[in-house]
């Protein structure tokens, strides 16, 4: 078997929802041994509620929560592939002790609680270095562990707001808004993969571990550097410009035939404008003074949009894309879920990975934003059931005896049925 890129790396994963789990899932896909820690009292919220109502708009295949909904929820099953899962009640001293015994055998602890929660468990960085002096701890909190807003909570959508991204997102002339996803989550996930490995490299060089304290809000701000610089250089706060570009023109998203079908088109130069007029069969527009250079096209952007939109309105979005790309013009269909999964390019690159889960069935899942020539990544196993590997991990990683494991179970520390416990107030 091929050597996997991250073979030998062991990660104790106390993250939940999206950013943290997606980060550690990618580490797992690349060969790391990722142990996800949850508890019946404090499941990853991506598992949904213990007794959900289900139906349309819910998280489950065909809206059916099933016998154990927490094992069928879409979010948790996508973001936790390639991991093992253990239930440990960290509010119980024996749970904390078991956690520390795992830490002894791990390289990295990643957590995404509200800042301060790990320390309250007795599992802050200061506690962990006593157990393993060169441990690397990475916190992926909303705003870092220090500062007046350290204890504040957030979701991806509110981070888009507080980080400044929403201030430049919105329809032209309209109010600022957020994206249709929690964009900061995958951003933090991908940034954190390299960040964790940078800390590992530092440990290899110096023999020392470290505490990495990420602010998800600041990570999101780092994606609008030029917007910040415009303010610090010129005192100007840019607002939303819809689908347009700040340099070239025209650019827009135009309606095509079919249900809610749209094509995105960018014209970056005079040559691309000429090519567009030829594809549209409107050679007269090539030297039309309204569109002859980028300044003119910016001034008459609405008119250009109307002409392009009129042309696309009676055409199939995929045909328009192919025709324009053949002429060297950037164009792409605004792909919906069904298109993405059938996309010939993503398919040819093996982007979708089909995974069968014992309680949720078979589904295609997204993979990774990087491919490797010698150590390809892969979903190595379906997302674990809640507590699926508790005994295995306690025995093989923490080195516990059957008696100790039975004791923890009797105390309820490793309980894996969320209906058997009252919800935690925290």
């Amino acid at each position: 078997m091929t050597h996997m890129a991250l073979e030998g790396l062991r990660v104790l994963d106390v993250t939940h929802v999206w950013a943290g789990p997606m980060c550690t899932r990618m580490l797992g896909d690349m060969g790391a041994d990722v142990i996800k820690v949850e508890s019946a009292r404090r499941m990853d919220t991506g598992r949904g509620e213990a007794n959900p109502r289900g139906g349309p708009g819910s998280l489950y295949p065909d809206g059916i929560p099933g016998e154990r909904p927490w094992n069928r929820a879409s979010h948790v099953n996508e973001r936790n592939r390639s991991k093992r899962d253990i239930c440990l009640d960290l509010t119980h001293p024996r749970g904390v002790e078991a956690f520390k015994r795992l830490v002894e055998h791990c390289d990295v602890v990643v957590e995404s609680f509200r800042s301060g929660v790990m320390a309250r468990f007795g599992l802050g960085y200061r506690d962990l270095v006593k157990v393993k002096p060169d441990i690397i701890m990475v916190s992926l909190s909303s705003q870092g562990s220090t500062g007046p807003e350290a204890s504040y909570g957030s979701f991806g959508a509110t981070l888009e707001q507080t980080a400044g991204l929403a201030s430049v997102t919105g329809y032209l002339g309209g109010d600022p808004t957020t994206s249709g996803t929690f964009f900061p989550d995958p951003v933090v996930a991908v940034l954190s993969v390299g960040t964790i490995l940078a800390a590992i490299r530092q440990r290899q060089q110096t023999g020392r571990g470290t505490y990495v304290d990420m602010s998800q809000r600041e990570a999101t701000t780092s994606l609008i550097g030029e917007t910040i610089m415009d303010y610090t250089m010129n005192g100007r706060a840019q607002g939303p410009i819809g689908n347009r570009d700040r340099v070239f023109a025209p650019q827009g998203v135009y309606r095509c035939t079919g249900d809610d079908m749209w094509i995105a088109i960018s014209i970056r130069s005079d040559e691309e404008w000429s090519a567009l007029t030829r594809v549209m069969g409107e050679p007269g527009l090539e030297h039309d003074p309204r569109f002859s250079d980028v300044l003119a096209r910016r001034t008459h952007h609405d008119q250009a949009d109307a002409i392009i939109g009129h042309w696309t309105a009676t055409r199939d979005a995929f045909s328009v894309m192919e025709e324009l790309q053949a002429a060297g013009i950037p164009a792409g269909v605004a792909e919906q879920g069904s298109h993405l999964l059938a996309d010939p390019h993503l398919k040819a690159r093996g982007f979708w990975e089909t995974v069968t889960h014992p309680e949720a069935g078979t589904a295609p899942f997204l993979s990774r934003p990087f491919q490797f020539s010698k150590t390809p990544g892969a979903t190595r196993r379906h997302a674990p059931l809640l507590g699926e590997h508790t005994e295995e991990v306690l025995r093989e990683v923490a080195g516990m005896s059957d008696t100790e494991i039975a004791e923890l179970a009797a105390l309820g520390v490793t309980e894996n049925d969320p209906r058997a416990v009252a919800a935690s107030p925290d």
Partner: protein, 404 residues
């Protein structure tokens, strides 16, 4: 990460995380430069290779004082901190010999040429592997090194469209809406950074280098999350809904509020409307979604009277994940960003001192050592003469024939 800038002067400083890693950066624009910026601030020695007329980002606004000068682009200045900069016209055959010598120096070569271009000039991964089998090539392109769309053209908008993020953003009754800025390019940069670090981990363990293929469109397809999961897993297609975090007009801006089961009552209390807590129309997440208009008719007038930051802080004090729309001015004055020293002032011979966004994480007791971006060709002598051993005379000749 130098001692005098440590947050805690008594702290023992360590070598920067990527100290000793050598990066040859052949990229321009946003994606590649963002990847190498992160690596450079983390301590890698990054040599940025620009064509003699400069990285294309030098021609992109914003410019200091709106003066389109190659040393005054905020985009370039932000994305190229902590790097050394040289000029080299990669299209000339003399340059290709120089590049192969730099290949021998580098742990990581990062490039964003059209797929196939480097290989056609004997500079592709096979060449790198022959020269230096331990090194890693990271290619960052819109569609990756293979696949039917390999040679397609893309902009940020087009990558968002084909990666599935565009369709789900915006209002249901209008056209899909782009996320502001250059999100797909920055995302590809982060993917390249992490891809390089994964390959370096493997290299350090086994001595084996490799080729990493980063496709901008796969970054966005990784980030969209909901569309593919909706269709392929839940079997319920995801449409634009624009109601993820309802946004309200406050007295001086906008506030975003996520109402969840555990904070709805607190919010009703904040509004002075505890009666709403028991209103069945708003009993849970799904009922509130079903009665969004009625909900907004109650919340909006109250919100319009409140200063945005007051609602944000009051809500957060009750553990509600509230947000408010920050523009750059709000961020620069944010007590939280100030407490972290997130913005750093860097001096620059052409622009003078300017404030820059910093790194989004604290690293033990060490502070980041942020240094300004290089001037065009600033390190030519240092790299060509001191590193590669060219004489001053040869440097002049190379300049004369416009190789550098």
């Amino acid at each position: 990460m130098v001692a005098e800038r440590s947050l805690n002067p008594a702290a023992q400083t360590t070598a920067a995380p990527l100290a000793g890693i050598r990066v040859l950066d052949l990229t321009q624009g946003i994606s590649g430069p963002f990847a190498t910026k992160v690596m450079a601030v983390m301590g890698a020695d990054v040599i940025k290779v620009e064509p003699p007329r400069g990285d294309v980002s030098r021609t992109h606004p914003p410019f200091l004082g709106d003066d389109p000068h190659p040393e005054k682009s905020g985009l370039y200045l932000y994305l190229n901190t902590n790097k050394r900069g040289i000029t080299l016209d990669m299209k000339q055959s003399a340059a290709q010999g120089i590049l192969r010598r730099l290949y021998a120096w580098a742990d990581v070569v990062i490039e964003d040429a059209s797929p196939g271009w480097l290989a056609a000039h004997d500079l592709g991964y096979e060449t790198l592997e022959r020269i230096n089998p331990r090194s890693i090539m990271v290619s960052v392109t819109p569609f990756g090194q293979y696949g039917p769309y390999r040679d397609y053209q893309a902009t940020d908008l087009v990558a968002l469209a084909l990666g599935g993020l565009l369709y789900i953003s915006g209002e249901p009754t209008r056209e899909p809406l782009k996320l502001g800025g250059h999100p797909s390019e920055y995302f590809a940069g982060l993917s390249a950074f992490s891809g390089a670090l994964i390959a370096l981990y493997h290299r350090d363990a086994t001595g084996e280098g490799q080729h990493v293929d980063v496709a901008q469109v796969e970054g966005i397809a990784s980030a969209q999350g909901y569309s593919s999961l909706g269709h392929g897993y839940i079997h319920e297609d995801r449409k634009r809904m624009n109601a993820f975090a309802p946004m309200y007009r406050a007295k001086d801006g906008f506030v975003g509020a996520m109402f969840r089961q555990d904070n709805w009552a607190d919010f009703c209390e904040m509004m002075g409307r505890p009666d709403l807590t028991t209103d069945p129309r708003f009993a849970d997440q799904l009922s509130r979604r079903d009665h969004m208009d009625e909900l907004n008719a109650i919340v909006a007038p109250w919100m319009a009277e409140q200063p945005k930051e007051d609602v944000y802080h009051a809500g957060q004090a009750k553990r509600m994940p509230m947000g408010y729309i920050c523009d750059p001015a709000d961020l620069l004055t944010s007590a939280q960003y100030q407490a972290h020293g997130y913005f750093t002032t860097l001096d620059h011979p052409v622009t003078g001192p300017l404030q820059y966004p910093g790194m989004p994480m604290r690293w033990g007791e060490d502070a980041w050592d942020l240094r300004r971006a290089p001037l065009l060709g600033e390190h030519n002598r240092e790299v060509y003469c001191d590193l590669l051993g060219y004489t001053t005379h040869e440097l002049v000749l190379l300049r004369n024939i416009r190789v550098i």
